[in-house]
Symmetry: C2
Subunit: 375 residues, 2 copies
């Protein structure tokens, strides 16, 4: 039996958003692992990608597998016997934190599209308010992958004295037009679904649009190389084919279908739209006038920047851009380009490559490699 | 004033399709340029990609610009003062050839989804019937890019004694799962549009689905590198922004919007579905049991295989696969990997790179380079 390990912190009063508008008494949902030490300096703040909740790993309070289960826990790369790890559900999301699906206490109605424009900065700032509420003034590190990497990066710019270390994985210092276009198309799929109803749907709403968006998502999260090795031109068995000329015939179509089905009902469509747009808007150049000036404001004294060769959504060139921009005499910057074939999602699945990299940064003492193999 | 240069050839009687089913008296629309010589051996057969018509270039009969205007004409790389060029509108398309939008003479109704499964082989075979009707037994070359390259390739397998030369550009000997998945998603966008009505729409039908499919198409036809150079993070001027948080804000979104708008009403949705699926089904291994055996059946004695480094839909590795599979002591194979940044569409836009390559193959005497610059 699992109970929820989720905790909630309310930012009391008006929370002013970066692009205007306020939220009244917004809530940040979070989970923690490990214990804050006496010096209160062993905390690690973990940001998520677009779709996960704060449940990054199992714990005694919640035994269900988390989204970064193999990375986080006792004697895992981010060792929770040494670190006090805090993972936040991003502001704007729908797993306990305030977002477009939440009730606006001012109106008593769901925010929906009346939610103010959301930025990555808003996610970082709201999380920092939580950190402060825990009486933590010094973070051992901020960590994030994908959208979470953007959030971690901007946290070190907005609050330069707080985090000593920065771990950015398959992220970006600014959204590039190809990634903007892909996300824009995903949003259009959702908004074009008549069931979106301008955001005023009941229940799951635009299921078809969300299915399409998820399929395109899966394609941009993985790589052509992986698909070629994994699926080739394999057909699904005849009994599982629909018989429809345009239905599922190839295994790769069946794979995307399964992922789309699994996603439905797990994520609110309006929250998806807001978080997706927040990534497009992200540009470190907003902090200082240029990318170089923005990165010069990063306060972390140690940085680990990790990217993957097959990542089409947050390409390796963007990881190198961050690493190069951070290099300074008084900062240790470790840049790792991994040859994983799973594209953007590699940090979630190619654990044999990612574990040692994070382990190095967090000075972990890992279990026998045999005990930690990918499953 | 332009009049149409389109000609029509009727394949009389029942045309048996590769995967079963027949078409009664199907029509192949085509255009020609130049003159068939006395020996009847200077003909070049040109196949198109998914969406163009047979109007590859302007002529005295039709002065409108064709889809390969700069490649085809007097003293252009495929010099129509030397060659008799025939471009066919693919079977299954909607620019004069019989396809799902045509009236089935048996029922008096549009075929729609009652059209039999279409294959690349059907397109090649129906074109060959046209070639035979013109009393041409020997082709100087078959030429095609993208889907047209698949068609040209399989033409040289199905009719090995006919074409002396093969030109395959940004094509494939078989569809890979990543490309299948992208096309499958495009088809799902169209079929999910309530206005598709299971194929029984009137008028333009699933406009929203076609718009989405076209946008995804444009993204897979171009490259992230080109988008980064061309659009960066430029915003459209405020007066052209919709004011909607999820509307067009970035130039790259405006670019895709313009392309989607231009496509609407120009292509029949059911035809699109059939042609798209035909590409997924294509596998040279169907001719001989393996890719190697299939390519061994290619009859052409000269081959030019061209690919582009940034092509994500028909990647360079697939062009090399064709070239390597064709190498034989008694065949001249020229493989060219071009560094164009426009991805799959480069053959339509990066003419300064493509013209000399085709010119070499066709022994052309080009005009001054200055006269032929890309526009």
């Amino acid at each position: 039996m699992s109970t929820s390990a989720r905790q909630r912190f309310t930012i009391e009063g008006d929370f002013v958003m970066e692009h205007g508008g306020t939220l009244k008494d917004p809530v940040i949902a979070y989970e923690t692992w490990g214990t804050l030490n006496f010096q209160r300096d062993n905390a690690v703040l973990l940001f998520t990608g677009l779709s996960p909740s704060a449940h990054a790993a199992s714990s005694s309070k919640d035994s269900t597998t988390g989204w970064w289960e193999q990375m986080l826990g006792p004697r895992r790369p981010i060792d929770t016997t040494k670190y006090f790890v805090i993972c936040v559900n991003s502001l704007g999301s729908c797993f306990g934190s305030t977002g477009p699906a939440s009730i606006d206490p001012v109106t008593g109605e769901q925010y929906r599209t009346a939610f103010p424009v959301l930025t990555i900065e808003d996610i970082a700032t709201s999380a920092q308010r939580l950190v402060e509420s825990l009486d933590i003034t010094h973070l051992h590190a901020v960590v994030g992958a994908s959208m979470g990497g953007m959030t971690a990066l901007v946290h070190t710019i907005l609050f330069p004295g707080v985090a000593e270390g920065l771990v950015s994985i398959s992220s970006a210092a600014r959204a590039l037009p190809y990634s903007i276009a892909l996300r824009s198309l995903q949003r259009e799929m959702i908004r074009s679904d008549p069931d979106w109803q301008g955001g005023n749907y009941e229940g799951h709403g635009p299921v078809t649009g969300m299915r399409l968006a998820r399929k395109l998502g899966m394609m941009t999260y993985r790589s052509a190389t992986e698909f070629a090795q994994r699926f080739g031109r394999e057909r699904v068995p005849e009994e599982r084919q629909s018989g429809d000329l345009f239905g599922v015939e190839f295994e790769v179509e069946s794979y995307l279908e399964a992922h789309a089905n699994k996603f439905i009902g797990t994520f609110d469509a309006n929250c998806y739209l807001y978080l997706s747009r927040a990534m497009d808007l992200f540009d470190v150049a907003d902090h200082g006038g240029s990318l170089a000036h923005g990165l010069a404001r990063v306060g972390a004294r140690r940085a680990l920047i990790v990217g993957v060769e097959t990542d089409a959504l947050f390409p390796l060139v963007q990881q190198r851009e961050i690493a190069d921009g951070l290099r300074r005499d008084d900062r240790e910057v470790d840049f790792r380009a991994l040859p994983s074939i799973q594209g953007h999602d590699s940090f979630l699945v190619d654990m044999d490559r990612f574990r040692p990299v994070l382990c190095d940064f967090f000075n972990c003492t890992m279990n026998q490699p045999g005990r930690l193999r990918s499953v």
